[in-house]
């Protein structure tokens, strides 16, 4: 299994060992929710209208139809934030009288098979009295716009404001103000596996087991038990293999609540597998924002102040647990990015519309704020007749710890160094020459830079600062050695592709002197894993990894104590390696297996000085740490079609100590693929009546392998002082950097035409529209 790792007793951390989870997955032995058989299957009847009142719902005779009327005893999903003028709005499990977006679940049909359920659902007569919808966030803010929820007048669900004390003075003294009006269209995270749930009632215990594709099984248990008014101990939630989440699966979906309710009511098993169309219209969306950003610079192009207006379209309801503050508040807190700027003003609003609910998607707002800020820096470079690299050199943070205008503390990072490294590797002068020669031949190349910080691994204080009623943050890990000497770590995180079983095993392996493939990492089952927050926000390696290290160190201490007893040697003389404890400088040793057997089965030998067994727990709740990177994209733009081809993509990044370089690279690759989709291809398009025009993967366009460039990765390692493993998170950086680098590259290629594009995705139609306008303008003036 660990083919290119020979020998033990070496450091495991830092090695690109193969992923322990892969053999099962690549041979088709994984377990996914939709594999489970069920007595009953559910098909949801979804609203074809964006706004309206439900007049009647009628199913064919004999059909089992569930509507809101059946669910009176179930509470509404009402996420809560205690700050930012947040207006709590409730969501019924099935639409109760009013529909608020196309795709909202209005009723459920229950049948013996998936196919029959769909056949019957097709025959349901749904009468909705349509009312006027509002789809765009700016329209929703305008006077007289339809109101989505009475509780949120003017459709503003939350409003964050900051203004630093010295802002006005600095703003008026600036040499230049540079402005960007950025637009990010709506996207869907498109995990390979769409949502799926299976709820089974156990007649013996009266408990329900919900198996579902989720990033946070414990929180699902807490939330669903709350809504149904049952004891958490009567609900077991299992996240088996999960085919990607990217944030879409870290929110509670009403559908899962209904499944548990049905299992209780039918005293049986019931399943639902979402199809791609449902996923695209009715699972969570993201990234639908307008950001107007202005930067005030002094005469030397030093950024003095930033002013931002963030309008985030949060859809029809608020998501649990993050609430619809997740995007606007992230934008507000992290807008200044990697630049040293101490004056800041921001207004960030979450705006309700008749569209699918917004939730977290890998990168959360930072792909948008980074693209906006990096466009601002390039525009400023132009205004000051500077090179894009130069303006960044003048403004990147280089003294640590650095406290940002919004009070975030940046730990040591390498903003300038990764920029220089990337610029060196790309050979900028050679590119500029090539670009010049190409332009002479009517070919348009462009280069784009993105430097950014990625806040990762933040614990509960960061969530408390947002005023969240639910503040995730810490993680707990139980590490035990069983009587046969095998090690098991039970974790509250819930990896779903990140390779955490491997990286945590590497961390434990180094502490205990045991190879990683003898270490099992157990997760995703609320009956066996300690309470935890799951996997999201580039947190698991930092937080769960830290908790793992704490627990493993305790186990190590215990093993040394056992060895000290058994070998009659001082604890300080014991070393753990090769699966054994040894007395340094002697040939005396005892294997971990023997020690484990003794401490469980021969406890009396330890004379009451040691507790039986080996089982330790670690909990970690860190402040957060910033990783950083510089992305460079080189594109060729076809001005006739508007097509953009990515010729070269280079990343220089620093995520602190790298536990497994292969896994780290994979995270960057995957993130860039999604970032490229965001920048060039992917867009959920609503028409004016609130219908979705992109409800399949021919119209909603994630990149394929053929659109992906080769990615060149260069690394620096600045061990974090804010993380006990010294690792920083890196799960989102790819998505964060790519739109900025690509849009800057496109705009560099567009320079000869005198047009700019500040919208993602920068589709060929949009690029052509800008070019056509310029062509027509020159025709007129000629």
């Amino acid at each position: 299994m660990t083919a290119h790792t020979k020998g033990t007793g070496m450091k495991w951390v830092g090695r690109a060992i193969r992923r322990l989870e892969d053999p099962a997955l690549v041979t088709g032995q994984g377990h996914f929710t939709a594999d489970l058989p069920a007595e009953h299957w559910v098909r949801f009847v979804r609203s074809p209208n964006a706004a309206g009142t439900i007049d009647s719902i009628k199913a064919p005779d004999g059909a089992m139809l569930i509507t809101a009327a059946d669910l009176k005893a179930v509470k509404k999903i009402t996420p809560m934030l205690h700050k930012f003028e947040y207006r709590p709005v409730g969501q019924s499990i099935l639409a109760d009288g009013i529909v608020r977006y196309v795709g909202e679940a209005v009723a459920a049909i229950v049948a013996p098979s998936e196919e029959e359920a769909e056949d019957i659902a097709d025959l349901v007569e749904l009468n909705i009295g349509a009312t006027a919808p509002v789809v765009d966030a700016r329209d929703a803010l305008s006077a007289g716009a339809p109101q989505i929820h009475a509780e949120a007048p003017g459709n503003v669900i939350l409003k964050g404001e900051v203004k630093t004390a010295g802002f006005d003075g600095v703003w008026t003294s600036a040499a230049k103000i540079v402005k960007v009006d950025a637009r990010s269209h709506r996207q869907n995270a498109t995990p390979m596996e769409a949502r799926a749930a299976h709820a089974a009632y156990d007649k013996a215990s009266g408990r329900v087991t919900l198996t579902c594709t989720t990033q946070m099984p414990h929180l699902m248990r807490t939330a669903i038990a709350d809504l149904l008014g049952i004891a958490e101990s009567d609900l077991r939630v299992i996240a088996p293999d999960v085919g990607g989440g990217f944030g879409q699966k870290m929110s509670l979906c009403a559908e899962y609540v209904l499944l548990v309710w049905l299992a209780l009511r039918l005293k049986s098993s019931v399943a639902w597998t979402e199809d791609r169309r449902e996923n695209l219209i009715a699972s969570f969306h993201s990234r639908d924002q307008y950001i107007a950003l202005e930067g005030a610079f002094d005469k030397d192009a030093k950024l003095l102040a930033l002013r931002a207006d963030v309008v985030s379209n949060v859809g029809a309801y608020s998501c649990f647990p993050t609430t619809s503050g997740v995007e606007p508040l992230m934008a507000m807190a992290e807008m200044p990015g990697p630049y040293d700027v101490q004056q800041y003003q921001c207004l960030a609003r979450g705006v309700l519309t008749n569209t699918c609910t917004m939730a977290a998607y890998r990168g959360v707002s930072r792909p948008i704020i980074t693209f906006t800020l990096e466009r601002l820096m390039d525009k400023a470079a132009k205004a000051f007749h500077l090179d894009p690299v130069d303006i960044r050199r003048r403004n990147l943070i280089d003294k640590f710890p650095y406290t940002s205008a919004t009070g975030l503390i940046y730990d040591e990072a390498t903003y300038k160094q990764t920029l220089e490294m990337a610029v060196h590797e790309i050979d900028l002068p050679a590119f500029r020459l090539r670009q010049k020669e190409a332009r002479a031949k009517g070919r348009y190349l462009g280069i784009g830079f993105a430097t950014f910080s990625e806040r990762t691994g933040y614990g509960s204080p960061a969530f408390a600062a947002r005023g969240m009623a639910i503040t995730p943050g810490w993680e707990t890990v139980h590490v035990s050695v069983d009587p046969s000497g095998y090690v098991e770590a039970r974790i509250g995180s819930s990896p779903h592709g990140q390779g955490l079983r491997t990286t945590l095993a590497q961390i434990i392996a180094d502490e205990l002197g045991i190879p990683p493939d003898l270490i099992k990492v157990v997760h995703g089952d609320t009956d066996t894993a300690p309470y935890g927050w799951g996997t999201f926000a580039s947190r698991s390696l930092v937080i769960s990894g830290g908790a793992t290290l704490i627990a493993a160190r305790k186990v190590r201490a215990k093993l040394i104590k056992i060895a000290s007893h058994m070998l009659e040697a001082a604890e300080s003389d014991i070393v753990l390696e090769d699966g054994a404890a040894k007395v340094a400088g002697t040939d005396r040793s005892v294997t971990v297996a023997t020690m484990a057997r003794e401490i469980y089965t021969q406890t009396h030998r330890f004379k009451g000085e040691l507790e039986p067994g080996i089982s330790e727990s670690g909990t970690y709740d860190p402040p957060g740490t910033f990783s950083n990177a510089c992305h460079i994209a080189i594109v060729e733009l076809d001005p006739e079609t508007g097509h953009v081809k990515v010729d070269r993509y280079l990343v220089a990044e620093d995520a602190g100590r790298i536990i497994n370089p292969m896994i780290a690279d994979g995270q960057v690759h995957g993130g860039i693929a999604q970032g490229l989709g965001n920048a060039l291809l992917e867009e959920i398009v609503y028409d004016e009546s609130g219908g979705i025009l992109t409800a399949n993967l021919a119209d909603y366009m994630p990149p394929t392998a053929r659109e992906m460039p080769h990615i060149e990765l260069h690394h620096m390692e600045t061990p974090s002082t804010q993380s006990i493993t010294k690792a920083k998170g890196l799960g989102e950086g790819g998505t964060i950097g790519a739109p900025a680098a690509l849009l800057n590259a496109i705009n560099d290629a567009l320079t000869p035409f005198g047009v700019e594009i500040d919208t993602i995705p920068a589709t060929p139609q949009r690029i052509r529209a800008a070019l056509r306008a310029a062509e027509q303008a020159t025709k007129k003036s000629a």
């Binding site: 769909e118 025009l693 021919a698 394929t704 053929r706 659109e707 060929p764 139609q765």
Partner: protein, 285 residues
């Protein structure tokens, strides 16, 4: 995304197939060929045929041969059959070049040439090929056999002159003359996607001037078709940039563009101009 219930029939002979088709045509009975368009549509329940007549076992429909005048392509011939040239006529080189623009490899292994024509997606490369080259469609039913010219065959988006009880048994493409020039270009946002505009051109050179020019445009209007205005701009001219640009502009002006969320009319005209010129440029390589 499960299709509505249906009955699948698996005839072994053409006679059986036509007999079943005539029985079930009235109940939205449909031919199942490669299934690469029909099955997704059924999964979305945009089509709910009560009967499918699966022609994949029907003997003789895999015919792919040339008689020196035309290339006959039977209803079971897959896109992948054209991955390598099927004859030594220039037409085969054209088909090989065009084929690789259709979808992705697994889809080309299953989807059929005739199925593409029967399905009549506005952006289908084979529909464009048939319209440009002037294919003859051989439609069979229990009522008899008839030949339909390409110009009469395509009636709109996913709509053809085939009657409900007719099987498109074969398509005949005229062979090209040895000196014929051809060029093809299509534009899409991702490799393998349907074209947002495509053009196929053929012509021959008489004393260095273009003659018998055919300029086909697909993906821009409800059906692919030849654009006479563009052909007129080529015939009698040298194959140079001026002539190509004139033809491209003529085509762009002549089309009545389809619009969708990623392609408004202006953009579609831009694309038509580009694909026609690039197809013409391709003819010189």
């Amino acid at each position: 995304m499960k299709p509505a219930p249906f009955v699948r029939h698996v005839p072994r002979t053409l006679q059986q197939a036509l007999a079943i088709l005539s029985q079930v045509a009235g109940q939205d009975g449909r031919i199942l060929a490669g299934g690469q368009s029909l099955v997704p549509i059924m999964a979305f329940r945009l089509a709910k045929p009560a009967h499918l007549i699966d022609i994949n076992e029907v003997a003789g429909l895999d015919r792919l041969e040339s008689d020196g005048k035309v290339l006959s392509i039977g209803a079971r011939v897959r896109h992948a059959a054209f991955h390598a040239p099927v004859t030594d006529n220039r037409l085969a080189a054209l088909l090989t070049y065009v084929a690789r623009h259709i979808a992705h490899y697994p889809i080309r292994m299953r989807g059929t040439f005739c199925g593409s024509l029967a399905h009549a997606d506005p952006a289908s490369e084979w529909c464009l090929t048939a319209a440009t080259l002037g294919a003859t469609m051989v439609a069979m039913s229990q009522r008899g056999t008839r030949e339909i010219a390409a110009s009469d065959f395509f009636e709109g988006i996913m709509s053809t002159a085939l009657a409900d009880d007719e099987l498109l048994a074969e398509v005949r493409l005229p062979l090209l003359t040895p000196d014929a020039k051809f060029g093809f270009y299509e534009f899409n946002r991702r490799a393998g996607d349907f074209a947002m505009a495509a053009s196929l051109v053929t012509y021959s050179l008489v004393n260095g001037k273009m003659a018998q020019a055919r300029v086909g445009v697909g993906g821009a209007e409800p059906s692919p078709r030849r654009i006479e205005e563009a052909e007129a701009a080529l015939n009698g001219q040298s194959p140079d940039d001026d002539a190509f640009r004139a033809a491209a502009q003529a085509a762009s002006d002549a089309v009545d563009p389809l619009e969708d969320h990623q392609t408004n009319a202006e953009y579609r005209r831009d694309l038509v101009r580009v694909v026609v010129r690039r197809a013409l440029e391709h003819s010189l390589t």
